[in-house]
């Protein structure tokens, strides 16, 4: 039997992997992908909450699922903008390595 706790553990692991990717990887594309991983970890726990919160009428709590749809929509928009920026940056600098992008440093 798979319980709510199992889902949440998987979600936490996914989030940790994503966070580690954002913190440690140098390639902007990979960082962006890691960000998506973190968002989806959150989505997974939201869906799990929805599935395990059944009301008196026998139906799951749809609020959390609606929330997930919004997150997916926003994530799609974010990826579109982020990748566009990335392409523009690459055209200007011929690199996607965050170590080389430090013009704002004093």
């Amino acid at each position: 039997m798979i319980t709510l706790g199992d889902y949440l553990i998987v979600s936490a692991i996914l989030f940790a992997i994503g966070f580690a990717g954002v913190m440690l990887r140098r390639n902007l594309i990979v960082i962006l992908m890691s960000l998506e991983l973190m968002l989806n970890a959150a989505n997974l726990s939201l869906v799990a909450f929805s599935r395990f919160r059944v009301g008196a009428n026998g139906l799951p709590d749809y609020n959390a699922q609606v929330f997930v749809f919004f997150v997916i929509t926003v994530a799609a928009a974010e990826v579109a903008v982020g990748l566009a920026l990335l392409v523009a940056l690459y055209r200007a600098r011929q690199t996607t390595d965050v170590k080389d992008i430090s013009s704002l440093k004093f």
Binding site: V22, K99, S102, S103, K105, F106
Partner: protein
């Protein structure tokens, strides 16, 4: 309806000054006509309210923050102010008319008459003010008009400097005056004379405080009435046109200090210490100015020092708590001193602006009317019976004899000196041989100038008699029985000694036989003040420079600039330029937020 006349007295000269300044500066004759009409209206209304003994005028409230601060625009109409208004506007009217002759060829005639009208407005404002705020505003306004009129011939350096000196010196006194007014207001909560008087009992038991307040108020009079040690401006003020000297610096404005002291006598008389200081300041001024006058050679300066000396007498009388004697002397002095100045002006014009008495001589032949009127004024000034000065000076001497013998002795000595220097001037100017070409060829002044002289001479002669003056003033009646015989006799002896000595020394002389450098240089007051100001500035300047350079420049201005720069340097240390470091800080921030939002 009747009660509006007092306001008309004030507003007529003000309207005249405004009209001349705004519209008629180009038409000199019209300007002088407006100004003279205004002063005659004032004089007429003054006489009218005097005759009617009007006591009520409409009052307006100007500032009202009851109960903290309330300034009405009201008029005091008692016998004192009504008399003073008649005196000021009457002498003023005569001097306006005289000015027609004296200033007839002057370029700035319109400006002159505008300032004269403004002066009449301000001076009558002082006379009628019923509260300290109004009094102070008009007080400053007469100071300003005095400045303008002394500096009328501003293209002469001496006149411009004298105007500055007069203004700045009186400001020193006015600062004390203002402080005194503020202290009165703080303690009694009112600036209206009639409200302060009953509240003076609040000061009971605070002798030092009330003495300080009284002396601060007195500071104003010291500046405006040119008492020692702020007397230095008055002789220099003689750089102005002679009618101005007569009106402002002899008959009215300088007497305003004495008038103010009489008006607020209830404050001065609340402190014995203050009274004593006032009396001695007056005495010192009287004798010092008389001593200086014995060695001056400029006819207007001699008169200026005699004004100082007579003002000293009046202040002395105020200090001896005899307001009636002070006002009596103010009243007679206004006539004979205005007369003396106008007569001197007549001489000066006829001698083409020669003021040195040693360049004159034998003028009694050339200027008979001037001579006779000048002589009447001079006899009144030295207190020769039966001229007016005898009675008023005698009243002051009697009070001094009764209350304070040392002051009486000094005052008597001053009377002797007065007789000496006035007769010296008279002998040198009108007798002997003419000592310059202009003195040989001078002719009598036109009637527009001699008429005011004659009127003033009559007033100066009559002014002392009780049957005339009783209508205007409360005459001093405080003579002690034993003083009645002694004082006039002593005064006449002093007078005869002074006159005799002056005749003996100066009859037939062509140059000064006695030279006393100390008196000629006016006790070195000007030199001392120059030295004082020089060293004050020399010592203050490094301190001010230090504060400017280190506290203001280095501290305030440089400090804020360096502070901004330093905080910026600290803040940019966190701008590492590493995307992942920012993300890490962002994560930490989120954790902190969650901690505070959830765990608390």
């Amino acid at each position: 309806m009747n009660s509006f006349y007092p306001w008309l007295i004030l507003l007529a000269p003000f309207a005249s000054a405004t009209a001349i300044t705004l519209f008629t500066l180009r038409w000199k004759t019209l300007s002088s006509a407006i100004s003279i009409t205004a002063v005659l209206v004032s004089f007429g209304c003054s006489c009218f309210i005097f005759a009617k003994s009007a006591t009520v005028a409409p009052e307006f409230v100007w500032l009202d923050i009851t109960p903290i601060f309330r300034v009405p625009l009201g008029l005091t109409l008692d016998q004192l102010s009504r008399t003073m208004a008649v005196l000021v506007s009457g002498v003023g009217a005569l001097i306006h008319i005289y000015s027609l002759g004296y200033m007839r060829d002057d370029e700035g005639k319109s400006r002159y008459f505008a300032a004269l009208s403004l002066f009449m407005f301000a001076m009558l404002g002082i006379v009628f003010a019923n509260n300290f705020v109004m009094l102070f505003i008009f007080w400053e306004l007469v100071g300003f008009t005095s400045y303008v009129l002394i500096g009328h011939w501003f293209f002469r350096d001496a006149a411009a400097d004298a105007a500055n000196k007069a203004f700045i010196t009186t400001r020193i006194g006015d600062f004390g005056f203002m402080t005194g007014i503020l202290m009165i207001w703080m303690t009694t909560g009112s600036v209206v004379f009639a409200e302060i008087a009953p509240r003076m009992s609040m000061f009971g038991g605070h002798g030092t405080f009330v003495a300080i307040v009284a002396l601060l108020i007195f500071c104003g009079a010291v500046g405006k009435s040119a008492q020692f040690p702020l007397h230095v401006w008055l002789p220099d003020a003689m750089e102005g046109p002679t009618p101005v000297s007569a009106l402002i610096h002899a008959a009215t404005m300088v007497a305003a200090g004495v008038y103010m002291l009489v008006r607020v006598a209830f404050i001065i008389q609340a402190s014995q210490t203050a009274l004593l200081v006032v009396a001695w300041i007056g005495t010192i001024t009287a004798v010092m100015a008389a001593l200086i006058a014995t060695q001056q050679n400029d006819i207007k300066r001699i008169l200026a020092y005699s004004t100082l000396s007579q003002l000293g007498y009046m202040v002395m009388a105020v200090g001896l708590a005899s307001n009636n004697a002070a006002m009596f002397h103010l009243f007679t002095h206004a006539f004979f001193k205005a007369l003396l100045f106008l007569a001197a002006g007549s001489i000066i014009v006829m001698l083409h602006h020669e003021q040195n008495i040693w360049e004159m001589g034998q003028l009694r032949r050339r200027l008979p009317i001037t001579f006779l009127t000048f002589a009447a004024g001079a006899l009144a000034l030295i207190g020769c019976p039966p001229f007016s000065g005898f009675f008023s000076k005698d009243a002051i001497l009697a009070v001094a004899y009764e209350h304070n013998l040392p002051i009486f002795a000094v005052a008597l000595f001053t009377a002797f000196l007065t007789a000496f220097y006035v007769i010296r001037m008279l002998v040198i100017v009108f007798f002997g041989n003419p000592r310059s070409d202009s003195a040989r060829e001078g002719r009598e002044s036109p009637p527009v100038m001699t008429m005011p002289l004659i009127v003033l001479a009559i007033l100066a002669t009559l002014g002392g008699f009780a049957f005339f003056t009783r209508n205007f003033l409360k005459l001093p009646t405080e003579k002690a029985p034993n003083a009645f015989g002694v004082v006039p006799v002593l005064a006449i002896i002093a007078l005869i000694l002074g006159v005799g000595l002056a005749f003996a020394l100066y009859r037939g002389r062509a140059t000064e036989p006695v030279k006393v450098e100390l008196l000629r240089r006016k006790f070195y007051f000007d030199e001392f003040y120059c030295w004082l100001i020089y060293w004050t500035q020399e010592l203050l300047a490094p301190v001010a420079a230090f504060i400017d350079r280190w506290v203001i420049d280095a501290g305030a201005v440089g400090g804020s600039s360096r502070g901004t720069w330093g905080i910026g340097a600290l803040l940019r240390l966190i701008q590492v330029g590493n995307l992942q470091a920012y993300a890490f800080l962002f994560g930490l921030g989120v954790i902190a937020l969650i901690y505070f939002a959830v765990m608390r």
